[in-house]
Structures are given as C-alpha cells and as structure tokens.
C-alpha cells in the first residue's frame, strides 16, 4: 500500500515538472514586458510598449475608461489625450497565451479653476472668526491638483480691504478664517490663483437691536405705538422686516401686535380705551415701557 502511494507521488512530481517546462517554453515564445509611462498628465497623450511577437488582447481599465482591443506585440501603442482625462491609476492587461499587467498613474494637469466654499452667506457684523473660506484648485478636467499652489484670498467691503492673505495649498486645499466687518452690507470675497478667480458675496447684517426705544400716543383709533429707528450696538440699522412685538396691558386685557420694521421703524395701532402700559421687544431683546393715559 505504501509503495503504491510512493509511485503516485513520483507520478505527480513528474507531471508538475513537465507542466512547468511547458509554461516556461510558452512564456519565452511570447514574452510580454509592458512598458508604461512614468509620468503621465491628464489630457495629454501617452504611449505604452509591449514586447513580444504576434497578437494579443489589450485591456485598459482606468477612471472613466474601459477598453478591449487586439494589438500587435512589439509595437508602441499611442493613447490619446481624451482617453486619459481623469487622474488616477490606469491598469494595462495584455493577454495572448497568458496575461501580463502593468499600472501607471495619470496626474492632474495645471490648475484651471477654483472651487471656493465660503461661509456663512449672512453674518452679523463684528463677529470673531465668523467668515471662512475653503478653496480647491482643479485642472481643466476637474481633477484635484495636489501640487502646492498659492491661493490669494481677498475680502473687501465697499472700498475698504479687510483681508489680503496668500495661502499655499496642502493636500489640494487652502483655507482662511477671519472676523466679519463692522458695517452692514455686502462683503466681497475673492480667491485667486494665477489668472483666474472665484468670487463670492457674504451679506453682513446688523446684530440684535440695541437700546430698543418705543413711543406711544393716543389717536382716534386707539394708541399709535412706534419705535425710534432701530439699530444694533454698532449703529447699523436693523434690517427691514425684523419683527418688533408691541404689548399693551390695560384694564380691558392685553393687546399684542407683531409689527415688522419698515424704513427703519416699526409701528402698530393698539386698541385700548383706558390707560395702558406698552412695551416692545424684538426676539429676546427687550425695549422700554411707556404709559399712555386713557381717552379723555
């Protein structure tokens, strides 16, 4: 029994050696060394070379591309630029009797555009580190450019320059953070790289109302109550549309009106026949109280 097993083992060994020899022979007949570009750039043509003779099936699989074609071994193969638009790894597989593979990398081209994220789109004035921007350089085929680039960030409000800072990209990104300006209005934010730039606008708005003051006087309909021009603590007018809540407390009950600021002032008509105490508030900011006497 043991002898029988030994014979079997010898047999398998002999078969293995024969198979190896056959494979080595075949490989020597159509040896395929694939030479790929060492530095390919997106959108630019490149060539690959496969040694050997005869025909083979060539597969190219990369980002956005997948082709299969018959090629003659031993000839240089030209890859058109539009086949290499996407940066990343490209795999070449050539199959005749056996398959061989190689991989090459296509890098992004020169920067051609900037993606620029700016936050927030509205910001109260005089807020620390409230405005930030992030810029990513891309080439003409929208590949992210990783080689360091110098991006210039400029912030201006009206004619005043609030920030002018150059930042080098790291890992394909550059960013800034800064405080908002002191006056309400449009804040122009520009990121520049070489000859092109991306422009965004941040609306600087007044902060919460400050020192909200109201006045009230009796008229034919009831009590006309209105605010003085409403400003924030920096003197910026609070935007029109901001709600001021007026409350009149009288013997007949409580009356409230949520009135929007229009042209800088909020005003409302309150119904109250007797004397009333009137107060105003905007959001969580309280104003003064006024007492209006009853109708004579």
């Amino acid at each position: 029994m043991r002898r029988l097993c030994l014979n079997c083992a010898y047999g398998f060994l002999a078969l293995g050696v024969a198979a190896c020899l056959m494979a080595a022979l075949a490989a020597s007949c159509s040896a395929q060394n694939i030479t790929v570009p060492t530095s390919a750039v997106a959108g630019e043509p490149a060539s690959i070379a496969i040694t050997g003779s005869g025909k083979a099936t060539l597969y190219i699989l990369g980002p956005g591309i997948s082709t299969k074609q018959e090629v003659n071994l031993g000839e240089d193969l030209k890859l058109r630029g539009d086949a290499l638009k996407n940066a990343g790894d490209y795999h070449i597989v050539a199959c005749s009797d056996s398959c061989h593979s190689a991989t090459f990398y296509v890098s992004a081209g020169k920067p051609a555009s900037l993606t620029f994220l700016v936050h927030p789109s509205r910001v109260p004035v005089s807020q620390q580190d409230a405005v930030s921007g992030v810029a990513f350089p891309f080439d003409q085929f929208h590949n992210l450019v990783f080689t360091p680039q110098t991006i210039n960030f400029q912030l201006s409000a009206g004619n005043a320059s609030l920030l002018n800072r150059s930042v080098n990209t790291q890992a394909g990104v550059a960013w800034f953070r800064t405080s908002s300006g002191k006056s309400a209005g449009a804040l122009q934010v520009v990121a520049s790289l070489n000859d092109f730039n991306a422009r965004r606008v941040v609306q600087q708005v007044a902060s919460d109302p400050c020192n909200l003051r109201i006045t009230g006087q009796r008229n034919a309909q009831g009590i006309l109550v209105q605010t003085e021009p409403v400003h924030d603590c920096s003197g910026n007018p609070v935007p029109d549309g901001t709600i001021v809540s007026f409350t009149a407390t009288a013997a007949s009950g409580k009356s409230t009106v949520d009135a929007p600021i229009k042209k800088g002032v909020a005003r409302a008509e309150m119904e109250a026949t007797g004397s009333a105490v009137i107060s105003g508030a905007s959001g969580v900011v309280m104003g003064n109280e006024v007492r209006v006497g009853g109708r004579p």
């Binding site: 082709t67 992210l144 890992a171």
Partner: protein
Amino acid sequence: MIRKFPARSCARISCSLMLVVCFVAAQYSVAADAATQVQLNAAKAAPRAVEPLTQNSIVRDYRVAWNSMSHALEFNSLDPLNGPFTGEAKTGLWQSVVSQQRSGLGRRYADQTHHLDAVFYAPEGDAIELHDTAEYQLQFLDKGKVIHEEHVVAHYVVLMTPSADRWLVRYLQAVPQF
C-alpha cells in the same frame, strides 16, 4: 443501486436547491458588504475637530460608497451610484460603468480594508478630505470571466460633503502616495 425520483420530487428538489443557492448567494452578498472594513483616524483633522457622531457617519457612508461602487463596477449597473456619490466622483464612476457596459468588461473588488485619515475638515464642517490607504483583491472580468487578478494596495484622496442625512463622496482619486 440507483434510486429514481419521480418527476414531481425532482421539481421539488430543484426548487429547494434553487432556494438554498439563492439564500447562500444572498448571505454571501451581505457578508461581502459587511466584510468591507473601514477605520477612521480623525486625530490629525484640522482646522476643525471631527465630532464623534460625524466620524461614525463618515465610516458608515464611506463603507456604503465602496460597496455601491464595487457593485456598480462588477455588475455594470448605474443605480448603485445614485445614493452615495455626487459631483465629480459620480460623473467619473458613471463614465466608468458606461464604458464597461460598452466593452463588456468588469472590475471586482474583494476583501476590502480601508484605513482613513482625516487630513482636513472645513471650518464650517461642509467638506472633509480623507486619505484612504486601501487594500483589496482586484479582479478584471471579461464577459464575467476573470482575466486578471492582483492584490492591490492603493492610496485614494477623498472629498466628502454632507447632504441632508448622510455624507456623500464628491471626489475619489487614486494617488501614487500621500
């Protein structure tokens, strides 16, 4: 001794076998999805620290993205790309699948592990850049037949941006090294 089954029994056995095969295939598919391992190191993220819940979301959504991408490129289906990808990543993968549909080729990513390093997290949290060191078994398919297989260690630069309920892969590009 050969035992003959009646025709009805054969049909029953065939059905049972098909069910078993389907069940096993489904289990295998789920297992394949679950087997994609993703780890995130957010210690070096700047200028903003990555919140723990955000870290969990990114790991979850990046895993889903790779599973969807693998499915799309293996079976040449565009549907899996609709959820987890946006922007250039979606466009690029779309082109890849369409190109594969034309050529009859496919790619299969198996045994994936991804080690993510968060290198940039935008001040307002609206973009995160990740460096992914990925390992997987990559197979190239021609009409479903494997023509080439290799173990790949690849480096990817990834940009993810938040949507209403998840993080989307906006940019996914292989690089030679970080």
